[in-house]
Symmetry: C2
């Protein structure tokens, strides 16, 4: 008699984005013909750059000929790509060996699966608000006693509030924790940790043998040269941090699927010596995964070429131009918003102490703009809506203009 | 203080294929210049067909233009592809709704992850021998007490022997079990279940509310029209079976990464009503996965077009031609071998009661042919080596000829 994994039933609601899609669809059904202005999901909209397209074409054409066809690749990824990624870290002063780079089909699966190599007894700390995948996957893995409806959070997790008072970067947890998820540039707040802030967490993690799971998926959007793009720019981070990154937003591979995770050989836990956690993730990937698409990997190699990087920088600049339009537009209306300077997300404060779902509905109804309710990212997200800078410029400008004209404060 | 998932440390050895690669590499280091004849891993070697290449090109070119670019797709897959897959089932008399088709990055990840939606207390039954992923992922998920070195198996799993006596298809388990992995055409034995055999398991599963996890990754290799290509050809199977399949072997997508899993809405467990398990896998995929590559999916759609299917059938025929060369070659030498008639694997019995790793070493040393030791697939695989029909015809012929000339019986 088979039984289901009851931990899944502890998950509070459907995943955030399907719920947004549902409400938007319902609004459209009631208001046919209305143009929806989507600043909700962080989904790329601009075509891939010529060099990346060339790489993908090369990937396809290789499969058309018996001389160049390849089947299964290494589960850890193509060594050329692993080497190129390690090279980018070297430029930032971080010495990562290509064997410490695990290529994957994206940062979301890696963020979701990384918890599986740690014990069920580990206490998880998350930034609040945070990308829902960190929390949801730990609930599914049985690390939570369930959802506390009243508090709007999952039991047994440590939520580290990120708010106006602390500049949207958390203080060290007061309780004993074992795994800490950090995301910088942050999704959803758009805040970026500086070196001192990361140093504080690295020092804490090394002292307490806590592991930091560092999501750097938006690192390409950092313009300020003083801000760290990788946690490995901090001394000692290789002993305590795993870093996850992605080609999705910086190259436009949201649909192509390519990312990577760094598990340093120096990483330590209470019960694992140097090399063991690295070997564990390797075993996990070899058993549960079969490598990223060889076509996508050819595209990734092209994206990391000199020409590819120049082109992709322009793509990033384009989206950051959108971010500026949103940020400056909202400021001119007297609305309070954060982020958007070194990150593609703007964290818009609701008006009149509205809840974020109410504000979401109001924004949709009055301005036809779709945002993402902050409460979907955790209790401290209440009172905010996330606006995404991913979109065509014309649509973004229209959205800001629609807010200016139609929003009733 | 972070701790690791101790269940991973219960895994007996490195994953089978890396171990084979290691031994082969060591042999090559000692015998430089020797041509290794690889019948080990089931890795495709022939180029993709023209129609599939056209599909992949279309996938790439769509991303080059702002008018056709797409980012995130649905986690469940492109509806055109889901519809085409459902269409193939319809031809076989199985009514599968497109919403029951979950497109993925391959049968291996799906085979690995499917267990995660079931409770940790579920007792797992596997065919013995079996594809190691079923067992390894359940060990990692904590369903085994560890490896029993003496018996060569994992504690708490039910091994269903497949041997000469039962024609390599198992009897119903005598013990109470909750999840049953079945693979047909079988990897590694090459045996194919007939309808009566599947009917027996479906009847048992419905009566006991057991769930069958049916791996049909090699179904395209079935030539005999009387043999079922899907478990859903058996009445009532939708109430008790999940089916996993792949574009890897039939289309040549081992490196491109594309597969699918059917979770029927009618599926029941002890504690889940109709629709609930389907919803659970949907939630799992939306939380841990972000969809298969859009380029790969365009290739998959092309592969399922009329022209694509005709071409891919020729690809399958090519590998099955290899299988015949191996099967008939071994028979002519008086060696005992099974499979290879409706499956791309040949299950070669060792001589003089040798162990399969000893036989692997002997085959490598004397003939330079790499097989896969049967013991790597479970205790009942002891005394066999799996030979794969995936390879260039010339290499396969050379391998058979080398065995004929150099093997000392």
């Amino acid at each position: 008699m088979a039984t289901i994994n009851k931990n899944f039933t502890k998950l509070a609601t459907g995943y955030l984005f399907p719920e947004i899609a549902k409400r938007t669809k319902a609004f459209l059904a009631q208001n046919p013909g209305v143009e929806i202005l989507r600043l909700g999901i962080g989904n790329t909209t601009e075509p891939l750059t010529p060099t990346v397209i060339q790489g993908l074409r090369r990937g396809v054409e290789k499969l058309a000929s018996g001389d160049t066809y390849t089947g299964y690749g290494d589960e850890q990824g193509d060594m050329r790509l692993r080497g190129a990624i390690a090279g980018v870290y070297r430029e930032r002063g971080a010495s990562i060996d290509p064997s410490e780079v695990f290529v994957s089909d994206g940062a979301k699966p890696d963020s979701a699966n990384i918890q599986s190599i740690f014990g069920a007894e580990n206490v998880v700390a998350v930034q609040d608000p945070a990308y829902p995948v960190y929390v949801d996957t730990n609930v599914a893995a049985g690390r939570s006693g369930g959802y506390d409806q009243q508090k709007g959070l999952y039991r047994d997790f440590v939520y580290m509030p990120c708010n106006e008072a602390n500049g949207f970067f958390p203080d060290l947890p007061a309780e004993k924790v074992d795994l800490i998820y950090l995301c910088s540039p942050n999704n959803p707040t758009g805040a970026v940790a500086n070196k001192d802030q990361l140093r504080t967490f690295v020092r804490y993690a090394r002292r307490t043998k806590t592991v930091i799971l560092f999501d750097a998926a938006y690192s390409a959007f950092i313009k300020d040269a003083q801000l760290p793009r990788s946690i490995y720019e901090i001394e000692g981070a290789q002993e305590c941090a795993i870093e996850i990154n992605s080609f999705s937003k910086s190259v436009g591979f949201t649909g192509v699927r390519l990312g990577w995770t760094i598990v340093p050989k120096a990483l330590l836990t209470e019960d694992a010596e140097s090399g063991q956690v690295h070997a564990l993730w390797n075993r996990r990937q070899c058993t549960f995964f079969n490598g990223a698409s060889n076509i996508a990997q050819e595209g990734g190699i092209a994206a990391l070429s000199e020409q590819g990087r120049e082109e992709c920088q322009k793509l990033v600049d384009y989206y950051m131009g959108n971010a500026r339009v949103i940020r400056e537009g909202l400021a001119a209306m007297g609305l309070t918003a954060y982020g958007g300077a070194n990150a593609p997300y703007i964290w818009l404060k609701t008006v009149n102490a509205m809840t974020s779902w109410d504000f979401f509905d109001k924004l949709l109804r009055e301005t036809h703009v779709v945002g993402t309710p902050g409460a979907g990212f955790g209790p401290s997200g209440e009172g905010y809506v996330r606006l995404s800078a991913f979109g065509h410029r014309a649509m973004v400008e229209k959205a800001v203009e629609s807010i200016r004209k139609n929003f009733r404060a």
